[in-house]
Symmetry: C2
Subunit: 445 residues, 2 copies
């Protein structure tokens, strides 16, 4: 398909490019375009209809569309922006620097520009920032047949027509009506008889995760967004919520694994950019690692007397880290999915203490037996077994408690991150191990 | 609300329980019920309408509804099951043991039981297993007004009426029509003029993740599911896909953090059940940890001569693990989101080699300087710095390569798991560290 497009452009039939692409859906159009050289991409964008260009733009990745936008130039980009739905246009503008943003906005119709400016003003990751203003609103005294009339007029423009929102004269949201109810009703029934008044709505400042949870819990296709006065200002549709859910999960995974930034970095990004996202955490962890080292250094005498103790350093460290990471992942995900309430904290901690006890006992016994036989020393077996037992109990609790404490300060608990918990638990484990060994040193030599 | 329900039951007005609960949405009804004692829950279920019971059942967690189902008894559970949409009924039945399943099915209407049996036959996590059979199908020669007639009849039963599926006489899927197109059309237009023939459909055996990706990429509200002959057999709706996306992300997080099972275990589960999900991995990792130990043991002479080398064991191990986990998370998530194609492998590995080089150089230099000053030995500084440099390069590549290899065998790459990569990288790092130290030992003593 990419080859076909290039050939069509080369034999000078640019008008046919649109009809070739039209056979595909926007997502697939973007896939094809991605395979073309930037110069050819640009020529394609010059000849296809504005509406198609807008659809493709919505499917491109952040980096891709920024490059393309700059290449196309503001004069040609403005009509494309005008065609995009308001939430996608806002996303795109938010990615631009101030100068490009201002230039593009100045080229739009006044009304459209004002709308986008007000959407841009909402803080990132809130309902206001992800909503679209292309919804259908009705008056309560409309009849069903009047609504059908209205739908025929506005249907093409609206983001969804499956939920219709009822507002009063001051644009306050007073009810919602599904197209299903509309179809079932008699033509002369008034909207007020059909609408549901007890509705679920998001506030403009609600976090996007909370909006996602409402849509998920109540199985909605869209949710209305109101401002502080109860005025309807937009809607968030389920397809945008799917993106929010995917992004938030990716963000959790990134943070749990100590990668900076809001998402796992684009696989197409270069080595320097990718390294920049991981380096800060690693350097921080290097310095914390020096702490582990200084703990061992402080037990230098013990270690000199019984060099064989060094054999179990990585095992104590790893097992402490692994156990902690397990609890951490559980709690972070539970918090993210909202499955977890404040009143559950003590029950969870008691549970995790029990888990730690079981994990510690099984692993501690196993390593005690193995170490005794391997190193021909029952005392060494006891030291390592007892230390691992105690370490696993503490490490399990640390992995559960730290994210809970962090989330109390309204910080995303995933920043606690696996490597961070691992390093903390290393210090705990090594301190226990060398303290026990030092206490029993006379029997070890 | 929970208290209000209990009071109403106690003063002997069971018929009012339904009207109290009716004020809430099903999700919130489930929240209220969850706060009641099992005995009271049971009494509530005995007095509320079957349709409400079915709605609440769909919102309960797996464990909760299993307990409730057994308590209610098959005779009363069957009508509830009958009311549920077929995908949810199938989910519920799949959770039961063979005996309970057979008992419940025998109490249903023959037709319903047969349908559920055929749905139960699809392998877990496929389109067939998550689809519902409550869709609207039309004939191509129907007119728009006939379709509206039909919709008024079946609207309440159908899972969605926003997409209507067009089938031929053999029930083969031939087109799709949105309610939007229907509203815009003249009453006497035939469906065949309006329908889109080039449609996206899932096959019954498609993995649920692939179905999710189709819905996500093409911004659909539902997708039709066809069998091998192209016969329409069901639809998957976007609300079920949201659950799939959430579950798959949780599964990735669990696996990356070495927790068995398909999801982070329920926070309400007891300590023994929770420990059972984490123990197998930990014991495996304990044994792999003995490998790290035996590497150190094999360098015992070096260690005895220069005990201070032990100080940097945890740092080498941790940094190797952390770097590997970062690459791992990136690749696993990229694979899960389908952002990553086979042809990208070499580009990715080259990129990760570059990242490893940067991470290794920065951290290696830092620790070389710190160790030289701290331990007053430039040679020791060189040993640890050079070892960390090499370790980070190798560890970054290991973290990227292992999940790619695993996914080639069609195994979920997340099973590679952070702790597993960590332990492998420990062994790599410690071998490098002690080999370098042994080579330079004469200068260290």
């Amino acid at each position: 398909m990419a080859r076909e497009l290039k050939a069509t452009l080369n034999i000078g039939r640019p008008d046919e490019v649109g009809s070739i692409l039209k056979r595909l859906r926007p997502y697939d159009q973007a896939v094809v375009l991605r395979r073309l050289d930037p110069a050819v991409q640009l020529r394609v964008f010059e000849v296809i209809p504005t509406a198609m260009a807008a659809d493709i733009f919505q499917e491109l990745e952040r980096e891709e569309r920024l490059q393309l936008l700059v290449a196309i130039g503001a004069a040609k980009a403005a009509p494309i922006l005008d065609e995009m739905s308001s939430d996608d246009a806002t996303d795109l503008l938010a990615e631009l620097d101030q100068d490009h943003q201002r230039e593009l906005l100045s080229l739009l119709r006044m009304e459209e520009a004002d709308e986008l400016r007000s959407l841009l003003a909402y803080p990132e990751q809130t309902a206001g920032a992800i909503m679209t203003t292309e919804y259908v609103s009705l008056a309560a005294n409309n009849t069903v047949s009047e609504v059908f009339e209205q739908l025929r007029r506005v249907s093409r423009e609206a983001e969804t027509i499956y939920y219709l929102y009822v507002v009063d004269e001051q644009e306050h949201l007073v009810g919602v009506l599904s197209i299903r109810d509309l179809i079932m009703a008699e033509p002369d029934t008034r909207v007020e008889k059909l609408m549901i008044q007890d509705l679920v709505a998001a506030k403009v400042n609600d976090d996007q995760e909370d909006v996602a949870r409402m849509i998920e819990q109540y199985d909605l296709l869209a949710i209305p967004v109101v401002d502080l006065t109860g005025t309807l200002v937009g809607i968030v549709t389920v397809d945008d919520i799917i993106d929010v859910i995917t992004d938030e999960a990716t963000e959790d995974i990134s943070r749990l694994n100590a990668i900076s930034g809001r998402a796992v970095d684009d696989l197409r990004v270069g080595a320097v950019a990718a390294a920049r996202k991981r380096l800060p955490w690693l350097v921080l962890l290097l310095f914390i690692g020096i702490l582990s080292g200084s703990i061992i250094a402080s037990f230098e005498e013990t270690l000199e007397a019984v060099v064989i103790l060094a054999i179990f350093i990585p095992m104590i460290a790893d097992m402490a880290g692994n156990t902690g990471t397990q609890s951490l992942a559980l709690v972070v995900r539970g918090l993210a999915l909202g499955e977890f309430k404040t009143e559950d904290v003590f029950r969870l901690l008691r549970r995790e203490a029990g888990v730690g006890l079981i994990l510690g006992t099984v692993n501690g016994l196993a390593i005690a037996v193995i170490a005794s036989i391997w190193q021909q020393s029952i005392v060494l077996g006891f030291v390592i077994g007892f230390s691992l037992w105690l370490t696993l109990i503490v490490a399990t609790l640390v992995g559960a408690i730290v994210p809970i404490i962090i989330s109390r300060f309204n910080i995303d608990p995933a920043v606690a991150s696996g490597p961070f918990i691992t390093t903390v638990n290393d210090i705990v484990g090594l301190t226990i191990y060398f303290s026990v060994a030092t206490a029993l040193m006379v029997y070890l030599i």
